[in-house]
Amino acid sequence: MAVYKRRYNPYSGALTPAWSRFYVLTRFAFSDLFKSRVFVIFFILALVPTLGFAAYIFVANNKTVQLLLQIRMGDVLTVDSQYFLVFLFSQSWLAFLLNCWVGPTLVSPDLTNGALPLFLSRPFSRAEYVLGKLAVLGVLLSCVTWIPALILFFLQGGLASGWLWPHLWMVVPIIFCSFIWILMLSLISLSVSAWMKLRIVATGVTFISFIVPAAIGAIFNAIMHTYWGDLLNFPQLFQNIIAAAFHAEERFGGPSSFNKIPIPMDWAMLVFVCVFALFVLNTRLRAREVVRG
């Protein structure tokens, strides 16, 4: 089908492996995202707190700087599980904002003008489609959560001799808790994006999907004099889980009179939210809508 010949020729060249084709979606989405200067600035800003936390580790392990700043190590500068808990929790909010920005741009443009049948008429499944879109959020949110957390962890391990092995157990909650938060954020924003075809509406709904249920939960608690309304407060659920995983003290969100929801219930609620989001995606991501009746 050379241009100058202007005739149709079938393609007989090599094909990419079928398992790798979900990555095409990811690559194109990244290309579109990083065309926006505003997004690039926001993404860089989301990485800035990591530099602050890294500076903290540097100061905590450098006696000269401590002397210059007149800080005593034992007073405030400790790098332990609370440090990573605070880091992950603050970064989880940045991940949330990043997710509100990126998530709604992923699915809704494909649905607005009916492009989905074009994807699914190729050797490409709905699961691969979702995987390709999830990978976008997975990579972006990982860049602001567990990846910098691990960098900080190993930075501390490198600077403080004898610190790494006693604290190695923290690698698991760092990765695992971040993974759960990223998965929940991604699935919620993708399902909202699949439900709301207009991007701006999807962005708004993604944002309020974390705020409104928490408010409803608080109202429920106030009226019913209970604490089970906290199950609708997703950031609170995540905080409970991560605090338990890091064996946090009460002042850092550990078990207290305020956090009465049992941890298994927190887990069950997060899993339920993820399953519900998958159900929505399964309902909406179809090549053809079938009208019943």
Binding site: R6, P10, Y11, T16, A18, R21, P109, N113, A115, S121
Partner: protein, 319 residues
Amino acid sequence: MPATPATPQPTIELDGLEVQLGGRTILQGLTGSLKTRAIGLLGPNGAGKSTLINTILGFHQPAKGSVRVLGLDSHTQGKALRALVGYMPENDAFISKMSGVRFVRYMAEIAGLPPSQAMERAHEAFVYVGLGEARYRPVGTYSLGMKQLAKLAQAIAHGPKVLILDEPTNGLDPPARKRLIELIREIREAGDICLLLSSHLLRDVEETCDEVLILRNGRIASICNLAEERRANRKFLELETSGAEATFTAALESLGCECAVFAHGRMKIVMPENIEIREVFKVAADRGVQIRRMNHRRDSLETIFLNAMEQTGAADGRL
């Protein structure tokens, strides 16, 4: 239009196919075999044409029976089948903010082409369909005709073996329709490609297809091999003449025509394929015969379609 050769295995095999959507039976007991490389799907609105295409693509699951394309079952071998397919849907299907060429490249990469090949073929496909100048514009800014061509470009960019076109000329003005039909015929004749074209416009199917599957109320009303019909179809002439004698009839018969003479100079002539009408005029002129009226007809797809619609014997889905 030269007929494309039939494939050794049936292009489409329907085996008691039944499809139910939303509790309603849309396709009922479709059974048949279509062997040529250019197949038209005809039927009035709601006959089940798009449902059949969607079932072939694996968008709908058969409730009973099966449909096989080039020997691949649409349900059990769906992925392998879709690897062979290029699909141009009936409705809008594009990503509005993407440039045309990037959109086609994207679709080609999803189909499995490496990035460099996908980019090259996206450009080629755009130039081929006549949108070369508009390829860097966002697809959302295209006119309806350009969007149709962009859909065709994405359907052919990855070089499919089966091209499925669902109402490709919908909403096009006559010149755009003519251009699209020409393109479809070129694609059909240029490459080793099977064509499945769904339309409710008889002319579209007649101009591009060799075989027609006519659907009515989710059942097969007729399967007709247009190429064979064209070959078997003999030309009929009804003449009203003045001064015709036995020598005129004998001269026509010597050309290979079959003649039946009636009262008042009326004649019916069955002409062989190789005889043109002007030769009848020449014979008449040589013998001083006046031809006062001539009625020339051959069975068209319209006749076949109307007959199929009127038939009641097709109610069980088989012919």
